[in-house]
């Protein structure tokens, strides 16, 4: 439609300029890592087998996916994987598992999704295959906590690749400048933030991922006090408990020290705040921590230190929440599950796990050291201090989604903590009764 080449050229130049302009400060990210293939043993296939893998792309999951593709595409097997984001994986998992035939043969699974798919009998329980290959793949090295995080009703539904633990990151250089110690509780974070803000250089020192982590932050606050969404004794939701009020108040108390738009911050944006130096304290999943030590991404790469997510009360448990990722086999695959299991197992061998460092905290955590993984000590301390998964229940996702919006309203001051918790209690009761039907 353009009338002349000159106009087309001008449009293209303007478009480029606009994209450059809007990309100011956007930074770049590490792409998929190159991997050196490892041994992937399986009987040669008489007929060509195409294995389709569904796995979202991230610096923590890519090493395992790439390892499977690079190591196991041979002897009549072709492993195929197309890059996709987490939202895409979420939807495609639901649709591919819905019918008698699916599009994928291996699906990336995570703790929060296991109950839903395991309870609907769409995933293969892996216990028999796990026992069969235990010795050959030295599965005794796998983290017990991570195996637990992918189990439902006593059965294992995914082979753990790596885990993410909500972890605290802070600018050690700034802490030293103000003579502060590493924070251990939310009260410490609050006091430190006050000091840093008063210093005048950083207006909003704390960045928390409320856009995609509200429920995890709140669950962590409950877990730190030994509580969870539902009281296991009474079966009643706990939003009206003193623990819920204390936990939510701990988050709301930080509001003056967080960007007023903090509820729009997802984890990449929290990372960006830390990259830019506009925040000094953050909480994110551990899989995002390695990027912070990359000098190509931030000038403050030497200044970051890591600690377990803060406890609500002194001496209490960490508020860390564990989410485990792993490989699962859909029941509707037409490919031999034993073959698929071997491909999955090859991608998490010790040699493979070493190559995933430091971007992932692998299920073979014996390969993790403070030298190869800067946030290792924080994660190990959190795990030994009782960091666990949220309740492995079918109602979890609905409960998280419906109550997160309310908690965000408390953060932006749209509703009081008491009103939010009262409303959340009603919703939680409805969610539990819906799940029971």
């Amino acid at each position: 439609m353009l009338r002349s080449h000159k106009a087309a050229l001008f449009a293209a130049s303007t478009l480029s300029a606009l994209l450059v302009l809007t990309a100011c400060g956007a930074g770049s990210r590490t792409g998929a890592q190159e991997v050196d293939a490892v041994a992937c043993d399986f009987p040669a296939q008489e007929q060509e087998v195409e294995v389709n893998v569904l796995a979202y792309s991230s610096s923590a999951t890519d090493p395992f996916t790439n390892m499977m593709v690079a190591s196991c595409s041979k002897d009549g097997v072709e492993v195929k994987h197309a890059p996709i984001d987490f939202g895409g994986q979420y939807q495609k998992t639901a649709t591919t598992l819905a019918g008698n035939t699916g599009s994928y043969d291996i699906i990336e699974m995570y703790s929060g999704a296991v109950p839903r798919y395991a309870s609907t009998d769409t995933l293969l329980a892996l216990d028999e295959l796990f026992e069969k290959h235990r010795e050959a793949y030295d599965f005794d090295q796998l983290s017990e906590a991570m195996l637990e995080g992918l189990s439902y009703d006593g059965k294992l539904y995914a082979l753990p690749t790596q885990s993410n633990v909500f972890t605290l990151v802070y600018r050690e250089d700034i802490y030293e400048e103000f003579g502060l110690d590493a924070p251990e509780t939310y009260a410490d974070v609050l006091a430190d933030a006050e000091v840093i803000q008063a210093g005048g250089e950083i207006k909003f020192p704390v960045a928390l991922p409320f856009a995609d982590g509200t429920s995890t932050l709140f669950e962590g606050a409950l877990a730190s006090q030994g509580s969870t969404y539902v009281d296991p004794k009474t079966g009643e939701p706990t939003f009206l408990s003193p623990e819920a009020e204390k936990g939510l108040n701990a988050l709301v108390d930080l509001v003056p020290y967080m960007d007023p738009q903090v509820i729009s911050f997802d984890q990449p944006r929290v990372q960006q705040q830390l990259f830019n130096g506009t925040a000094a304290i953050g909480i994110m999943y551990s899989g995002r921590m390695a990027d912070l030590t990359n000098p190509d991404l931030t000038q403050y790469s030497d200044g970051f230190a890591f600690a377990p997510a803060p406890a609500i009360a002194p001496g209490g448990k960490t508020s860390a929440i564990l989410s485990v990722d792993g490989w699962s086999i859909p029941k509707n695959t037409k490919i031999d599950p034993d073959l698929l299991f071997r491909l999955m197992a090859a991608s998490i061998t010790e040699e493979a796990a070493e190559q995933a460092l430091p971007f992932a905290y692998p299920s073979r955590d014996n390969v993790v050291t403070e030298h190869n993984t800067p946030y290792a000590a924080a994660v190990q301390e959190a795990l030994s201090n009782g960091a666990g998964t949220p309740p492995m229940e079918t109602w979890l996702g609905t409960m998280q989604g419906d109550t997160a919006v309310l908690i965000q309203q408390a953060i932006i001051g749209k509703s009081s903590v008491q009103d939010v918790l009262a409303e959340a209690q009603k919703i939680a009761i409805r969610t539990l009764s819906g799940a029971a039907e």
Binding site: L2, R3, G25, Q261
Partner: protein
């Protein structure tokens, strides 16, 4: 044209349309009366989905936002599109350059354009507009967490993305305004505003109605631009009906296709109410041979 030739010519496309539009429509209506999960046959529940939706305050908020956005964005786009088209119609040598600049957002996929647009208002990614506004006013606008600021941001992005189409269509239509009528009006002493109001705009009337129809239909389905522009759409009450359906039917663990279908049926009714006056007028004009 004989009936047989007409059938041969139109039949295949009619068949494809029935397949692609008719079948999903029937499924949507049937599912709206059922509880449906992925891969499982639905369970009949009568008007249960409709009752749930109509009692859900989040849905009320989504309808208000969507209808408000449709009306506001269409009105702004008509005015702005007309203003830009008029400017370009009278532009001299620079017309190609201006056209090129104005077409930039039109050639970029909406989700990418909206993401880039959002960075202009986001301090984490440069926030050029924020910087300018703060320098001038000393105030920071909470574009992503304040309800009306966020709605304004979405409207701005919608207008930025849609304006080139309106401008192009109206620019083409302006060329069809009879010069005799304009000259006669000038001879009668009509000033520029009077010529626009009494000659140009009435002549372009059918085109305005067509654009209004397209604008309302497009805006009622607003979805993709909200992903980067309203990351907490539900919390800040900037959630559109399409986003509400997406959340209920696909994004969360409920995956309630029945509820999503009921919302879609209700939205078809809303759309019918909003666009029927325009459709009726366009039909009359086509019938009278004026369009």
């Amino acid at each position: 044209m004989r009936r047989r030739e007409l059938l041969i010519g139109v039949g295949p496309s009619l068949g494809v349309m029935l397949l692609l539009l008719g079948v999903p429509l029937i499924y949507t209506i049937v599912w709206s009366f059922q509880s449906v999960k992925f891969g499982a046959p639905g369970d009949w529940m009568g008007l249960g989905n409709y009752a749930r939706v109509l009692q859900d305050p989040t849905f009320h908020s989504a309808v208000l936002f969507t209808v408000g956005f449709a009306i506001a964005s269409t009105a702004v786009l008509l005015v702005l599109g007309y203003a830009l088209a008029t400017l370009l119609h009278h532009a001299g040598r620079g017309r190609s350059v201006f056209l090129g600049v104005l077409l930039v957002p039109y050639v970029v996929p909406a989700i990418i354009a909206a993401t880039a647009f959002s960075w202009l208002f986001d301090n984490s990614f440069g926030g050029l507009v924020n910087f300018i506004l703060e320098t001038i006013t000393g105030e920071q606008v909470q574009w992503f967490t304040n309800t009306w600021a966020n709605r304004g941001l979405i409207l701005l992005a919608g207008v930025w993305l849609g304006a080139p189409f309106y401008m192009l269509v109206l620019l083409g239509a302006l060329k069809g305004v009879p010069s005799e009528q304009l000259e006669a009006a000038m001879a009668d002493g009509a000033n520029w505003w009077q010529r626009q109001w009494y000659v140009v705009i009435p002549t372009l009337g059918p085109m305005f109605r067509f654009l209004a129809l397209i604008g309302i239909m497009n805006a009622l389905g607003v979805f993709d631009i909200l992903i980067p522009l309203a990351p907490n759409a539900e919390t800040v009450e900037s959630q559109s009906v399409s986003l509400y359906v997406y959340q209920k039917a696909f994004a969360r663990d409920q995956q309630d296709l029945g509820l999503g279908s009921a919302v879609n049926v209700l939205m078809m009714l809303v759309m019918f109410i909003l666009v029927s006056p325009f459709v009726r007028n366009i039909y009359r004009e086509v019938k009278a041979g004026t369009a």
